[in-house]
């Protein structure tokens, strides 16, 4: 009897909460769809630059699935590799084939190696391939490659949750209303939250990066300060996005509902998965995701050891996201107080 009453009450509550209902049914579909596009797309085609390689071999490589670009000499090919246009170069060094891999994505390196070994077995069995890496090293593990992305992701995720729930509680416990009955400006509320939480996120960023590099021994080739800067920018974006979205949530539970909608898609586009297999127009979605810029820059710094000039654009975009979210937050507070 009591169980029945309870069951009916819960069903009623669910039916009234349309958002929870939609999330329950639609969010898994969304995530499944994304996974489909990530894992079930076209096959990976490495971009291979070649110079001085016999035409027969060139043709065989092209047949085995690589996009082949011919260069006049090895220097030119390797410059294109450094410029990010290629995944690997194949040149002749004293008559012996030399393979140089871009190296920051182990799955791409493996694909190139596999492809070349197959092509050469038929053409020139017994010839030893000289392998070198532009970035990273041969034993760069998947963890080393994903690491920078994971650092960014965890900072982003937890700050998002924390800020969202904290700001929501301020509203549901009535303290936000009380706060807004004082002469505080809406922009001051947002700025106060940013500063207060910003201090904690700075600490968090340092802790995560320090642990990953110092304790877990993650591959690190660049400046620690740049890693901290990027982490801080990412968490600021998470902070502003979390507080902004909490304005549209009525309970802690509804904050959690934002995870599959806001966080999970970012994971797919952040570089954890190779997007080359994905439909090109879907790949463009990554330009909307803060985590994409953060992860891109983190990889550039940690694996490729690049400096500020190489990640400038990422830094500006992350800043722009934070500023935009913060301003929207000031606007959203109008719901609580019109002035």
């Amino acid at each position: 009897m009591r169980i029945r009453a309870l069951t009916i009450r819960i069903i009623r509550q669910f039916v009234r909460d349309k958002r929870t209902l939609a999330l329950l049914f639609l969010a898994p579909l969304l995530v499944l769809t994304l996974m489909y596009f990530v894992f079930n797309g076209r096959e990976i085609k490495p971009d291979l630059g070649i110079a001085g390689v016999p035409p027969a071999m060139e043709e065989r490589i092209a047949q085995s699935g690589a996009r082949v670009v011919r260069y006049d000499d090895a220097d030119q090919a390797n410059r294109a590799l450094e410029g990010g246009d290629l995944d690997a170069t194949l040149t002749l060094d004293n008559g012996r084939p030399a393979l140089r891999l871009e190296g920051s994505d182990p799955s791409m390196s493996k694909a190139v190696l596999l492809l070349l070994r197959q092509a050469m077995q038929q053409d020139a069995p017994g010839v030893q391939l000289q392998i070198s890496y532009l970035y990273g090293k041969a034993d760069l593990t998947s963890f080393d490659s994903f690491g920078p992305v994971l650092i960014g992701f965890f900072s982003f995720f937890f700050v998002f949750l924390l800020a969202g729930v904290a700001f929501l509680r301020e509203r549901t416990t009535g303290t936000l209303e009380r706060l807004l009955a004082t002469p505080i400006r809406r922009s001051e509320v947002v700025a106060g939250y940013l500063t207060g939480f910003g201090l904690f996120t700075l600490f968090q960023a340092a802790l995560i990066a320090g642990y990953a590099i110092g304790v877990l021994g993650m591959y690190m080739d660049g400046s620690v300060w740049l890693v901290l800067l990027l982490n801080l920018l990412l968490t600021l974006t998470a902070l502003t996005l979390g507080t902004l979205l909490s304005s549209f949530a009525g309970s802690e539970f509804q904050i959690i509902q934002f995870i599959p909608l806001v966080i999970v898609p970012q994971v797919f586009f952040s570089g954890l998965f190779n997007l080359e297999a994905m439909n090109p127009w879907l790949q463009k979605l990554s330009y909307l995701m803060p985590l994409y810029y953060g992860a891109d820059a983190m990889r550039a710094v940690m694996i490729r050891g690049e400096g500020l000039s190489a990640i400038q654009l990422d830094v500006y975009v992350l800043l722009a996201f934070s500023v935009a979210f913060a301003l929207l937050n000031v606007l959203a507070l109008k719901k609580q107080r019109p002035i």
């Binding site: 009535g174 209303e177 807004l180 009955a181 004082t182 002469p183 505080i184 107080r337 019109p338 002035i339």
Partner: protein, 247 residues
């Protein structure tokens, strides 16, 4: 008691209406509260008292009509400095001590340094909580939280106090003590506007406004309202004016 139509009313409402999602919560309210008055808004829950309070304070904006507070048209950010406010729910940070709460709100009202220390001690003395100043709010009882909320409202010595159900959920003894404090504040010249749904509290106000279903059904002193309806208590007067009992 002041003449409610004196040249500079503290609060002036002229034909204000407010609707939420097509449902009218307040409908054509016109009212003036004079300086130094203790004015009570009396009505059952859901009658629109809290919405009216929010319009007076400028936390919300009226759909129609004009709200003036101390002569200034509301809502206006700078006017939020001019009154003390106590919300219906105790909006306190439970993790912090009473003193930390007071320091936070004091700073929001621009109090700092020695002056803030002075005001904290003085406001906590008024509500008789001085010895609990450094306790975390989570260790406070319901009545203590209510009194702390009142202390926060008194902190910057406002000329007007707006209190939303100041005695809700408080035992009779404490209610007496809070009322003693409110009357003492009134005697020192502070204007007070409070909401209540407790009829005997309405008897202590200089004037009361009866609200029902978003309309102001009557305004006057308790004695005046009882005389007008020929009833012995405010409760009977309220029922007589409202045209039948409804809870």
């Amino acid at each position: 008691m002041n003449d409610p139509l004196s040249p500079s009313p503290v609060v002036e409402l002229d034909g204000i209406s407010r609707a939420f999602g097509g449902r009218a919560v307040l409908d054509g309210i016109t009212l003036q509260v004079g300086r130094g008055e203790l004015f009570g808004l009396l009505g059952p829950s859901g009658s629109g008292k809290t919405t009216l309070i929010k319009l007076i304070t400028g936390i919300d904006r009226a759909d129609r009509g004009v709200v003036r507070l101390l002569g200034e048209r509301m809502p206006r950010l700078s006017m939020l400095q001019r009154f003390g406010y106590m919300a219906q729910s105790d909006a306190l940070y439970a993790e912090l001590t009473a003193k930390e709460n007071l320091m936070f709100f004091g700073a929001l009202y621009g109090l700092g340094g020695v002056r803030r220390e002075e005001r904290i001690r003085s406001a906590m003395a008024v509500v008789d909580l001085l010895e609990h100043l450094n306790k975390p709010v989570s260790a406070y009882s319901g009545g203590m939280k209510r009194r702390l909320s009142l202390a926060i409202a008194l902190l910057h010595e406002p000329e007007l106090l707006i209190l939303d159900e100041p005695t809700v959920g408080i035992d009779p003894v404490l209610r007496q003590s809070i009322w003693r404090e409110l009357l003492a504040l009134r005697d020192r010249g502070t204007t007070l506007i409070l909401t209540t749904h407790v009829m005997d509290e309405a008897d202590r106000c200089d004037r009361v406004g009866l609200i029902r279903d978003g309309r102001l059904t009557a305004v006057g002193s308790p004695a005046d309202l009882k005389a007008r309806t020929g009833t012995a208590t405010i409760e009977d007067a309220f029922i007589a004016i409202g045209g039948g009992a409804r809870v």
